[in-house]
Symmetry: C2
DNA sequence: AACTTGACACCTAGGTGTGAACCT
DNA sequence: AGGTTCACACCTAGGTGTCAAGTT
């Protein structure tokens, strides 16, 4: 994925390593907190919004259901609040959760979702959420150590956090208890003048959300509650929901996890990440096989193939974790029904990210590969100079207009080569070195002339943005931008 | 537009007439009601949901702002409720509003939107909506007379209508009065077992929505209100919001108005409807001119023109309300930038809908035309037998797969002619008979070979579905389906 | 023959991360 | 050089009328 320039700078080691953890003194302490679910229940006793986390509290854990319970001891009754989606929150928390804040307001992901128990079924309650500072520090992300460091002090004391009343409020205890109470519509903003009711936060600070259960009284009007009432409030804090505010993601692992789990970021998802590295591509994209490159031929066929689906032989779909037995069949399944739109060349090379070189896979790499025990995939894309290419499915109108020539003329000559290294997920799809040796002869570069349809092409474009460019060292932001520009320039984008 | 088979059968007369009104005894009475804004305010005195429209009420009108006010006289204070979007409601009401109901639930369009005035700013209110039967009759739409007729009796008495509480409830009078209160999330269903809280109605019946302003009392729980409380309720009815429930639109004019006004139906919209009848097409679709048809040539060029934009001369764009001065230039503006995808033939004929014949325009028609004072446009589309037509923008995969031959083979011979009559909106773009006579010689059929791009093609397909098939008598459902099938068969659809 | 249903193309509306450009 | 903003491609989610096929 084309992670942001910042995120690109995240060190390779921590990405490829088996189970990357934040380094430093905090790690052990946080782990303990996670295991303890980090629950806090406080009874509201004063008007201070940034209430201290004091007060009696007990905790209970249901790790198998992915929930955690907070029981708030009270003169009346024990109210329990369970955080939903605890597993996901913990995955983020282990890395160091970041939340984007924007001027217009950005939703949280994950969002705070709770189940409430042991309310009085017949009483009316408001349920609300706010977000308070964890400390008075300003933070800075240090790329080379992949850590958040204190960068200064901030005085939060004069700011009263905005209270987000759950839209179903007020509601009977019975009704609240029947449903999962989701705060997914909450939006975070860094705009101090915000008039849309979003929660206002400062970037590069640590915060923690709180959930409040408020007993309804006749005086309360939903439209008039802007701060917590003096009494009848129970507050719950879940340590796992702590986060650092950012305007752009700092830690690449956070970006990755967000993309993987947030449905709205599906467009940035690597289609094959949950299977063998190549499986996703192989199964998703229709290819012709065996791969062979004839750019002149391609140039001639580019238009001629429009709308046709000539019967070509299809290769055997290989998988990276179970390589094909036929020595030279690096082909992919062929879906003729979608072979009607566009002809572009594309080919793969196997590549070891730990080798550090930008060269095609060579026999000498085998030995080093055995040491590293993992392997990536290098993609070679060839871009012929196609002046009058027909692009019927042109969604990006603006870019499409600009596309007639100049953008492609950045590249000299009729054919361009772009080498990309695909960083596979650590451990998820590593190719065993032994297997690689066995089949490595079949993995040497082949060139392909392949037809595939434009919707596939657009997905491929998205997919390739998840590739890591092939450099020995982590990319600098500038490098990342440059490579992305080449790959994602208007014309290429249309591939 | 390809109105539903039912809607197709709507009689020509009522479509073309200057200001079509429903015929029958009701017309005069309804007109009075419209002018009186049809307001009703009733004070709830019993639990009967289907309350009678009795009670004291006054009315006030602000026609220039498109709103209408209801003032409910009361022991406490006058509460006023204004229907928003009154103009739109009235346009529908004049035709005879229809609302689709489905098993899954369908939104209303227009939706009920009101402004409330003179509430007690400090009191809490619920605002709710329900929909009650207008009478105990079942209705049937009679196509040849374009009228709704009583078709039987229904006993509604045992059914208590579902109450839809506005999601902002309860809320202070102050807050309610600050905003437009919209019931656009209300959904109507014909599923008697509905468990999603939608309003359950019976198809082919007449209903009227009611808006209730309910004073909050401590006893009321938002989740527990399923019927109107005994007291503290003021009810408002707007005559213009009456509608007949259908599962498919019956009156083509309703379909047309829904498509024109509902943003979600934009895909079915005729791009030129707010200008001269032809202007939209002429300005929107790139054409080559002068129109001339050479099907053999077309067949040969169909693929050859892909991706090219050969420089052809473009005709003068005429408008139906101001015909072009050049005698034979029924051409259209040419947008070469989009002439790269597909070549299809299409031509126009002027046609008088009141003549009733399916023949091309003849001199003898002129006299009759003068009497009718209005004119439609007839479209002649020619479909050559194109076996291997290139269809890059194939979104409808299912149809695309079926498209190879059989569907087009329904038509005998290499070329098919389909006559469509385009019913222009009454009064919006009528061609003066005098002007027609003057220019009628230029309106005799011409044939055209024209290139235009696929996105345009898809819109044209949508547009042509709005045409009315040229038959002397209103079409039967079967006829409508047949003609639509020809025009919209898988291959044609891609035009 | 009248009416209903369900899959569908085509929209609106809005939530994502990206990277260029900008600010400080 | 760190941090922020904005237009954007690419998604999810769901509201339209259409039509073929079904039911009554």
């Amino acid at each position: 994925m084309a992670l942001s320039s910042r995120a690109h700078a995240f060190s390779v080691e921590s990405l490829v390593g088996k189970s990357p953890k934040r380094k430093g003194d905090h790690t052990e302490k946080e782990k303990i907190m996670n295991e303890a679910s980090g629950l806090l229940c406080e009874k509201k006793t004063d008007r201070s919004a940034a209430a201290t986390e004091s007060g009696e509290w007990r905790k209970k854990r249901k790790s198998d259901t992915g929930m955690c319970k907070a029981v708030c001891s009270d003169s009346e009754k024990d109210v329990q609040v369970e955080l939903q989606g605890l597993d996901l929150w913990k995955r983020f928390h282990e890395i160091g959760t970041e939340m984007i804040i924007t001027k217009a307001g950005r939703r949280m992901f994950p969002s705070v979702r709770v189940k409430v128990k042991d309310l009085d079924p017949f009483k009316q309650y408001y349920i609300a959420m706010d977000i308070i500072p964890v400390d008075s520090k300003r933070y800075r992300y240090v790329y080379h150590s992949s850590q958040w460091m204190v960068a200064g002090n901030t005085d939060h004391s004069c700011i009263t956090p905005r209270l987000y009343i759950h839209p179903d409020s007020p509601c009977s205890g019975e009704t609240w208890m029947r449903q999962v109470i989701s705060f997914d519509r909450v939006k975070l903003t860094n705009n101090e003048m915000d008039d849309k009711g979003h929660i206002i936060l400062q970037s590069m600070h640590k915060y923690k959300p709180r959930v409040h259960v408020i007993v309804h009284s006749a005086k309360l009007d939903l439209a008039q509650i802007h701060s917590l009432p003096d009494e009848g409030v129970k507050t719950f804090i879940f340590k796992e929901t702590e986060f650092t505010t950012v305007t752009a993601y700092q830690n690449q692992q956070i970006t990755k996890l967000k993309i993987d789990r947030n449905p709205f970021a599906k467009g940035f998802r690597d289609p094959g990440r949950n299977r063998g590295v190549l499986d996703g591509i192989l199964e998703t994209y229709p290819w012709r096989s065996p791969l062979s490159l004839d750019l002149k031929h391609f140039g001639l066929e580019a238009q001629g193939n429009l709308g046709t689906s000539s019967p070509l032989s299809c290769g055997t779909p290989p998988s990276i974790s179970g390589l094909p037995s036929s020595p030279c069949s690096f082909g992919l399944p062929c879906s003729n029904t979608s072979l009607h739109s566009l002809t572009i060349p594309l080919s793969y090379k196997l590549y070891s990210p730990s080798l550090g070189g930008s060269h095609p896979f060579s026999p000498a790499d085998h030995d080093r590969l055995q040491e590293s025990g993992s392997v990536g995939v290098q993609v070679l894309a060839d871009f012929p100079f196609l002046e009058s290419f027909s692009i019927p499915q042109l969604r990006d109108k603006k870019k499409g207009v600009d596309c007639k020539g100049p953008c492609i003329q950045e590249l000299p000559g009729p054919t361009q080569h772009l080498y990309l290294r695909w960083m596979h997920e650590a451990g998820s799809a590593g190719l065993p070195a032994s297997q690689l040796r066995q089949d490595s002869c079949s993995l040497l570069p082949h060139y392909s002339l392949c037809n595939y349809d434009l919707s596939m092409a657009s997905r491929l474009s998205s997919m390739t943005r998840h590739f890591k460019l092939a450099e020995a060292m982590p990319l600098t932001p500038r490098e990342g931008q440059l490579c992305h520009k080449l790959w994602n320039s208007p014309t290429y984008h249309l591939l």
